[in-house]
């Protein structure tokens, strides 16, 4: 540069700027591809939503009755005498399994996250993080299989109950399934707490534990709440494992040993057997809309909370 200027005091503009060369086209092409990629995700999501809505709309406009849909425990779409479409038992199934799953997952994942973030370092920490991520990648059908073949006989044996496919079984399975991702996010939240807070607390004589529960946990509480909510969202949407481990029978549960049926599992199990466009078919899509709305709200809230953390 300096040499150039020394030779001619006002050098002409770099030629690269006034001609479109291959770099420029490549740049544009990449830009367009990125845009298509990005926009198509949005288009697909909207497309799916529209599709589900259209299919479910027939039901909402026809057989749908608000009080029956939300407050009747009878889901009898194939009844010969009178079909009923009540979600209460299914919602109770989903809620009880998800709730129980959180009882399992929250202490597990918070404990693991605290251990990884605050008590381990170096190789051990990396190893634990990779392991957790591997656990998160286990397909849900494998978890369902574990519920069927291992948990089921175990529960029958330990608690002397006739069936081991119930809330307890599915709750534990779902809890273990949700724990890895919750651990990951909770650990991120803990790591996001600046180290100078730890230093400050320790320099004043706080022990590790005092530091954790007086400083780190309160500072990370939004991120931790977000992690829990994402776990709840995961529980709500999970299908295969709950289909296999709940017993899949319609019940308003009164104990953890009752078999239940989940909203998602109902769609998965029945959709293949219904005539396209029938009331039953459309009712299943209406459940889909409901699930969509609930998970959307949960994820949105979780996202907002976690974002709140980032901003400070």
């Amino acid at each position: 540069m300096e040499q150039n200027q020394a030779q001619s005091p006002s050098p002409p503009l770099d030629t690269r700027f006034d001609r479109l060369n291959s770099d420029w086209y490549f740049d544009k092409l990449a830009q367009v591809l990125m845009f298509i990629g990005g926009i198509s995700v949005i288009v697909f999501i909207i497309g799916i939503f529209v599709f589900v809505s259209i299919e479910g709309f027939g039901f909402l406009a026809g057989k749908f009755e608000f009080s029956e849909f939300f407050f009747s425990p009878d889901w009898r779409p194939t009844s010969q005498t009178k079909e009923t479409y009540g979600l209460l038992a299914l919602m109770a199934g989903t809620a009880s399994v998800t709730g129980f799953a959180m009882l399992v997952a929250v202490p597990f994942s918070l404990g693991a996250a605290i251990y990884i973030a605050e008590f381990s370092s170096g190789k051990k920490r990396e190893f634990l993080k990779v392991t957790i991520e591997l656990l998160a990648a286990i397909p849900s059908v494998v978890w369902g299989f574990i519920g069927l073949t291992i948990m089921n006989p175990l529960i029958i044996q330990i608690f002397h109950v006739p069936v081991g496919l119930n809330i307890l079984n599915a709750g534990i399975i779902l809890g273990l399934m949700a724990a890895p991702i919750m651990t990951s996010i909770a650990e991120d939240a803990l790591k996001a707490v600046p180290d100078r807070y730890r230093e400050a607390a320790e320099a004043m004589g706080a022990t590790r534990w005092q530091m954790i529960y007086k400083v780190i946990l309160p500072a990370a509480k939004n991120g931790l709440l977000g992690a829990i909510l994402l776990g709840v969202g995961r529980g709500f949407g999970e299908t295969m494992a709950v289909l296999m481990a709940t017993g899949h029978s319609i019940n308003l549960p009164t104990s953890v040993f009752d078999s239940v049926r989940a909203l998602t599992a109902t769609i998965a199990a029945e959709l293949g057997e219904t005539a396209v466009g029938s009331d039953h078919y459309q009712a299943l899509f209406a459940i889909g809309i409901f699930l969509f709305a609930v998970t959307f709200v949960i994820n949105l809230v979780a996202d907002l909370i976690v974002r709140g953390v980032r901003k400070g």
């Binding site: 370092s121 100078r196 807070y197 730890r198 230093e199 400050a200 607390a201 320790e202 320099a203 004043m204 004589g205 706080a206 022990t207 005092q210 007086k214 400083v215 309160p218 500072a219």
Partner: protein
Amino acid sequence: MGGTSTRALAIATQKLNLWYGTFQALFDIDLNIGQGIITSMIGPSGCGKSTFLRSVNRINERLGYVRITGSVDVMGEDIYQQGVELVQVRKQVGMVFQRPNPLPISIRDNVLFSHRLHTSDKCSKARLDEIVEDALQQVLLWDVVKDKLQHKATSLSLEQQQKLCIARLLPVKPAVLLMDEPCSALDPKGTEAVEELIWELRGKYSILIVTHNMAQARRASDECVFMLMGKVIEHTDTGDMFVTPRNQETADYIEGRYG
């Protein structure tokens, strides 16, 4: 080495060596810091000032790869002796960091944090209020924050945060206050205010303050320690050091010939 030898000692080290892993940061430090006075510590970047300070409150041990030989006595007790309680050491030796680091809780809870750690029995609310007011009065912050004690400490200005970081050490009555460049994150006005405060605390606490600011060392300390490459080069009355330094290196540094 130097200093006023008749004075009772707040900190006394013998042959203190310190390694970060295999890197030796302190070499045979023999240093006697008197009680009730302000001692400043100067020296070029990387000479081990922070390292020395951090080993007096044993906060270096957080790192896990720090090794020490020699001894450090605080108020006559060897703090590296076996059986010494870390919690007690840190109660007795308060530390103020370069970047103000109030905890992300309320101002009031910040002031009471240390107190709550070190006092097992419950105090009445009136007693706690008294403690908070007293500590904040001492750092000249009470009038500014008395109406917003429940606000988050992190919402204060940097100067106020740093004062709060000093205030929260006081309720447990530490013997020694270590300050690692407490003004370096502050503007000139904030610096002046905090300096003034440190001067106010003189006599009540033994204060060891690291600074890069020659003028600050000169006007705000009784004695001065000059360090270079992990060693103590000179330790005398501040006045003497700046007027008639005994070492060529000290003279060079004071005249700004080091970084």
